[in-house]
Each structure stands twice: as C-alpha cells, then as structure tokens.
Symmetry: C2
Subunit: 194 residues, 2 copies
DNA sequence: GGTTTTCGCCTACATGCTGTAGGGTGGGTT
DNA sequence: AACCCACCCTACAGCATGTAGGCGAAAACC
C-alpha cells in the first residue's frame, strides 16, 4: 500500500516536527503518530532517540552547508559576509527546530561528516576578502561563528524581547561591526591603526 | 528529624545535579533520589518541572549578576571588559548546568526579576569606558552578549574540539577584538578609518 | 494534659515515552 | 505453489510526570 518507511523519511519527518513544535518535542512516539505507525516500528529504521537526533543534526548540517555554499559563491568582503550571515539567520528563523538540532554535541559520525568539514571551510572562505593572517584564521572563524550563533541563540530565547529596537536593526549593526573588525583585525597586543 | 525540605533546597540540589550531569538530566525523580525522598513529595515545594527549571534559571541569574557586579566594580575599558567576559566564562566552566539553565526561554517571572534587569544594566556599564553613543548602547550590548554567549555555546558543544589551538587563545583574541571594536564603534553606513 | 489542627512526606495510580522480544502477513522469488 | 523475508504489529518492562488521598508527628490551642 503505502511506500515503506526509511531512515531518511523518519528523520525528515522528525525535522518537520522539530520546526513545528520545537526540537525538544521530537519524540519517537510523536514521529510514529505523524507517520501513522506504531512507535516500535521506527526502531528498524533508527537505532534509538540519540540516533534520530544525530540524523536531524546531520540533515540540518547538510542543508545549511548547501545554502551557505550558494550564498557566498562569487561574493567577497562585506558582500560575502552579509550573505553568509543572512543564510544563518534565515535558516534559524525558517527552520527553528533544525537550527536547534545544531546547538548540541553530536555523535562522532556527524562531527566527521563532509558537511561539518565544509562549514568550517566556508567560514574560512568568507575571510578571504579580509586582511586576516593565515595563522589567525581559526580565531576569526571562531569569532564569526560565536557572534552569529550567539545572536541567533539570544534572539531565540527571547533575550531581546524586552528592549527596543527590533533585533533586525542590531543584526545589521552586528554584521557591519564584524566587517569593520575583520578589515582591521587587531594584532596580538592591541590594534594597529592602518 | 531531618530538617524539612524547601523550594530553595530542592532548586539548589537540582542545580548541583545539573552541574554534575547536565541540565537535561535534571528530573524530579533524580532530584528526589538525591534528597532521599519520594518523587511526589517534591510537588509540595515546586509546582512542576517547568517551575523547577525556572527556579534554576533564576538562581543562576542571581549568582551571575552578583559575580559580574563584583568583577566590574572599579574597572573600566579593556580592564572591565576582560573581567566581565572572564566571569561569564568561569561560570560556564565551573557551573555548566547552571549556565545551561540560562540558555532557554524562561517564564515571565524570571524574565522580570531584578537579577535579569541587573544583567543588562551591567553590560551597559562596561560600555561606559567606550565611545559608543547612547542610542547605540543596545546594539553594542547585544553584540557583546552574542559573542560571549556564542563562544561559550560553541565551546560547550565541542565546536572547537577538532581544530587547534586551544579555545583559550581564541577567547583572548575575541575579547581583545571586542575591545578594539568598541573603541572604534562603526558609524551606521560603514566604518570611519580614524 | 489532652485534643485538634496542620504540615510534610508517604503510597497508589493514570498516562506517556523509550527500548526489547517476538509474532504475523503480504509481496516478490524461484 | 511454496517459500522467504522485509516490514509493521502486539506485548511488555522500566522510568518519568503529575494527581489524589492517607498517615503520623509536632505544634497550637483550650
């Protein structure tokens, strides 16, 4: 009758549920209900809950890596940075559950995946337009990721809800500030003035 | 015999458990076991699991606000910024469960608490040593929080584990970079080159 | 001093989720 | 036609949340 289930289908459905109800609401029972199947049936496709979550993380990682790749292709400098940041924010807003699935310690397999490797590479690519010395790239990449992810996290937890103006304005300032920072990357003991 | 339980004791014990085993492992059953009591007994002190978590968040918020207050008192500029950032990082490292309790959407009561209000005020105080115009303070505070919290989040989820050098080095660069950024806060349409 | 109230923890239970064991059925193969 | 196996099923054990109601001991009251 119905086409048989597969790991991919289960994980995709779990991701959809996460986006609708929040990552923490993703339960094997709930996914089974959505798929019109009994809960134990899912264990043939997914080892356990941890594996399901890892699958969602891997899925999100792959999607995001593709989006980032498309966004920064052919751009550089502030242009690339804007596109890079915009993709993250859009993803966090449009797929909040998937985005949440990235904010956790994932299994080894996920960490070593191509998508995960790509993500760091892409962050490095954004830096190409900036005068950050090669041996400082790690730090710049970490700073970039920290600020972008941190902003999205605070926004999601409602940290900005009780002060004006809307987060969008701060987001723009933040991206511009990061651009300025990267263009004048400080030397070890302070800043150099040009 | 034993002194009777109280909400404060239950919450404190839950916080201790969170630090030992992770925030997501905090369960009313587990806390009851630690306290040598049956699980339903806790419901006289804590309305439900959500209330317990909110209590932990409020506790952490209060502790952190006090630590920050002590750290930035009498300091300014980079000195204050360093102390401010250091308190956050130390707290995240020494009380990981409590820190995790801050990375969630808390109930209204917690959000409106004095401690929560203090935290924004304190972030603003750090900016006093920098030439950030008053109407830009919100953005700077948000940026500061984003970067600091984001770094700690990425560090905790193991994002930095598979690249060298150790996060400590990046942390230092990050704080220095934030200092540089605040000292040369970019104007709205770009940066001014001094 | 004895009675009564109250407080704090208890047992019992309903409900929901995870994960295991093992059964049955239908579609494809030979 | 008989077989097999992929796929989903039922049954169950274990642990979590949260409700209802009981019991005992200490405090309060006459």
């Amino acid at each position: 009758m119905r086409p048989p289930l597969s790991a991919a289908i289960v994980i995709a459905d779990a991701a959809a549920l996460a986006d609708e109800a929040g990552f923490e609401k993703v339960t094997l029972s709930a996914v089974a209900r959505r798929l019109g199947v009994q809960a134990p049936s899912l264990y043939s496709h997914v080892r356990d809950l941890k594996a399901l979550r890892d699958g969602m993380t891997a899925l999100a990682l792959g999607e995001l890596a593709d989006l980032v790749a498309a966004a920064i292709a052919g751009r550089s400098g502030l242009d690339a940075l804007r596109a890079y940041a915009a993709v993250y924010r859009a993803y966090a807003q449009e797929s909040p559950g998937r985005w949440q699935s990235l904010q956790r310690r994932a299994g080894e397999a996920v960490v070593r995946s191509d998508a995960a490797r790509n993500m760091s590479t892409q962050a490095g690519a954004v830096l190409r337009g900036y005068p950050v010395p090669q041996d400082e790239h790690v730090h710049a990449v970490r700073l970039l990721g920290s600020t972008i992810n941190g902003f999205l996290g605070l926004e999601r937890t409602g940290n900005f809800d009780h002060s004006s103006p809307a987060p969008d304005v701060s987001w723009d300032r933040t991206v511009v500030a990061l651009d300025a920072l990267l263009r004048a990357w400080p030397a070890h003991s302070g800043t150099d003035s040009s």
